[in-house]
């Protein structure tokens, strides 16, 4: 673990390939091969220290090879997730343990067994993503710091062998001082920062382009942090709620802090005969929806109350929620996403004499809150013995309810009249009227229904969005920084063999060549030759 002292006097950290200051290859090798200029030949620390467990972990994640493998693995895994639909996208009522086999056969069963139906939130997938994040941080740190050091410490007068082994290189014998001044002038004009030392030149521009990839990585890391924050409670909420007209409910995800009342749900279609748009489509498909809208009132509840406790709701505002026009408050957004039209809410029945057809009054039953007894005029009254909101006959043949939603209501009534003081029993369902305890004199006649619309809303909150946005922005800045600028350096040095001119760029060698041509135009300086092209015989220019 010795530090390496170069003949120029600069002390380089162990593992350095090219002296940080003068650029002389540290291994003293005297070959004619072109230099590998990656990371300026600086010492990538990870590659050199390997003592403790921490070092081993560090070096594992510092390897670009490992990073690439992680990315490849993630890509392959992600591809697997798209073979069959993910669990979130199979029909709501389907049981995933049987659905995949039924739909896709043995492969489907295997897909389910291996957990690919929930791939993107599986622990191993998240670990892969996390490893990429770690690799990104450590790879960047391990490279950007030595690179920064090397670029900061570079000397104007580079070692001869460093210059000779650059891709663009030329020797001019008997150079003119005026030519060198000309070159200096031109470099300055072209935006180069020129440093001079004993008549030698270093022109450099676009160094900040070298930081592009690292800025890009910072953006990615911020993006990953944003994605990670989604699992922090309260940062990300995506819940649905169904709300009947007239109903007030706590908004899910707000911890009972906010309440929403549905005043009205509106569904509109484009007119059939009016001269509106979509006439052809309407003729073809029957109807085209124009508007889905829920008129709501937002309330705020009391803080810190316990569940079930009565409370006073404080009205915040009225708002019409439309598609793409969500109700926004306190970081939450409530979107219109679904609806059910004409759900039964009230049923009207009249108490009639079966023979004469005379009516003794009508009762209207609120299907969400029916009363025990309904009083009618002069000694007539109706009691509800049983209520089945979603009526069916169970295995024992008795009336029963499937759910608590009044989609098929049925009742057992007891009708009390002046001449039937003990009451008559009647079972009433939609289009059914049964007299279970023998012939009745009276009956309950269906007299109409009232319906209400139900709106389906999504409650959304994403406090990580700005972090994702910021990450994306920094990512783009990094890309632009690295893409549209090049780091170009031109060295000019007097030596015993003549004037050395060498040049390096991190990309766009053709552009550099054109620039060199312009810089030495009209001087006696020999145009640097592309040594790589010359060696390969120009086949890979």
């Amino acid at each position: 673990m010795k530090e390496v002292k170069c003949e120029c006097g600069h002390v380089n950290p162990h593992g350095t390939i090219l002296c940080e200051a003068c650029g002389k290859p540290t291994n003293g090798e005297n070959s004619k091969k072109l230099l590998d200029m990656r990371y300026e030949g600086s010492a990538r620390r990870s590659q050199t220290y390997n003592k403790t467990v921490i070092d081993h972990i560090w070096n594992f994640f510092s390897s670009v090879k490992v990073g690439i493998w992680l990315i490849v693995l993630t890509l392959i895994a992600s591809a697997f997730g798209t073979i069959y639909p993910q669990e979130a996208y199979i029909p709501i009522n389907a049981d995933p343990s049987t659905y995949y086999e039924e739909q896709y056969g043995t492969l489907g069963a295997l897909y389910y067994q291996l957990g690919f139906h929930n791939l993107y939130s599986s622990w191993w997938y998240l670990l892969l993503i996390a490893s990429i994040g770690i690799s990104l941080v450590i790879c960047s740190l391990d490279r950007v710091i030595p690179l920064h050091r090397a670029l900061k410490k570079q000397l104007v007068t580079r070692h001869e062998s460093f210059l000779q082994r650059q891709r663009f290189f030329s020797v001019t014998e008997n150079p003119l001082e005026s030519d060198i001044n000309k070159v200096e002038e031109r470099l300055k004009k072209r935006g180069y920062r020129v440093k001079k030392e004993e008549g030698n030149l270093l022109g450099e521009k676009g160094r900040f382009s070298r930081w592009g990839p690292y800025v890009n990585h910072i953006g990615l890391i911020i993006f990953l942090i944003g994605a990670m924050l989604r699992v922090v409670p309260g940062m990300y909420i995506d819940k649905t709620m169904w709300l009947r007209e007239g109903e007030t409910k706590a908004i899910p995800g707000t911890n009972g802090e906010y309440f929403l009342e549905n005043n009205q749900f509106i569904y509109e279609e484009y007119g059939k005969d009016s001269d509106e748009v979509f006439q052809k489509t309407i003729d073809r498909v029957g109807a085209v929806a124009k508007n889905y809208q829920t008129d709501v009132t937002l309330y705020k509840g009391q803080e810190g109350k316990i569940a079930g406790e009565d409370q006073k709701l404080v009205k915040q505002k009225d708002f019409p929620i439309k598609v793409n026009e969500p109700l926004k408050f306190d970081g939450y957004a409530v979107y219109q996403v679904d609806y059910r039209l004409n759900e039964l809410s009230e049923m009207k029945l009249s108490l009639d004499d079966k023979q004469s057809g005379e009516s003794f009054g009508t009762i209207s039953i609120d299907l969400h809150n029916p009363k025990d007894t309904y009083e009618l005029k002069q000694g007539y009254r109706v009691e509800i013995l049983s209520y089945f909101p979603d009526f069916y006959f169970n295995e024992e043949g008795n009336p029963d309810t499937k759910t608590k939603t009044p989609s098929n209501p049925a009742f057992v009534f007891k009708m009390f009249t002046p001449d039937r003081q003990e009451g008559e029993t009647s079972f009433v369902a939609i289009r059914q009227n049964v007299e279970p305890l023998g012939e009745n004199k009276y009956k309950m006649t269906f007299a109409g229904i009232d319906t209400k619309n139900v709106t389906g809303l999504t409650v959304h909150k994403d406090s990580t969005l700005w972090i994702l946005g910021l990450g994306g922005l920094i990512f783009m800045i990094g890309v632009i920084q690295g893409m549209y600028w090049n780091h170009r350096r031109i060295w000019v040095r007097h030596t015993a063999q003549g004037l050395f001119m060498a040049s390096h760029t991190n990309k766009n060698w053709f552009g550099l060549k054109r620039e060199l041509e312009k810089v030495i135009e009209g001087t006696a300086i020999v145009m640097p030759e592309d040594q790589q092209e010359k060696k390969k015989g120009g086949d890979k220019a």
Binding site: W123, V137, I306, A307, G308, P370, D372, P389, D390
Partner: protein, 175 residues
Amino acid sequence: MKKKKRRLLVRTIILSILFSAVGYTMYAQFFAEKEKVVVGEKAPDFVLEDLNGEKHKLSDYEGKGVFLNFWGTWCKPCAKEMPVMQNQYEQFKDKGVEILAVNADETELAVNRFSKSYGLTFPVMIDDGGEVQTAYDIGPLPTTILIDSKGEIVDIFEGGLDEQKIKEYMDNIKP
């Protein structure tokens, strides 16, 4: 040597920050979600009115075991365990175990009729608006939460219970 020590320290710090971030994410993703109501923790407090108009606050029952049952009239296993619960209630109510039966937001009429037809004498209450169910993160019905005299959750059971199991639970939460 100093330099190397510092490097090791820096690496250790960076790695531990990264790993704890990842660790927290994994924890929050896979374990914390179901942490709302958990065995060994204190049961969330609530207050509901029973069918006779009497208010019941869970925290008032500290010192007693509470057999907290969530149910619906349409749910078959709920109906099936009701008579058994009634039976055990009669045997355990003097031993300091209370049953609170919370209905899943149905109509008063339906719950009333149901309670009468089964002759239930323990407090039956309607969770109007489903707030208590949300607080307890109730999924399928019936779900029974066993709360001991300290107000801590002893067990959570999803599905119907038979008499044997109910008796065991009652014995378990008896103060």
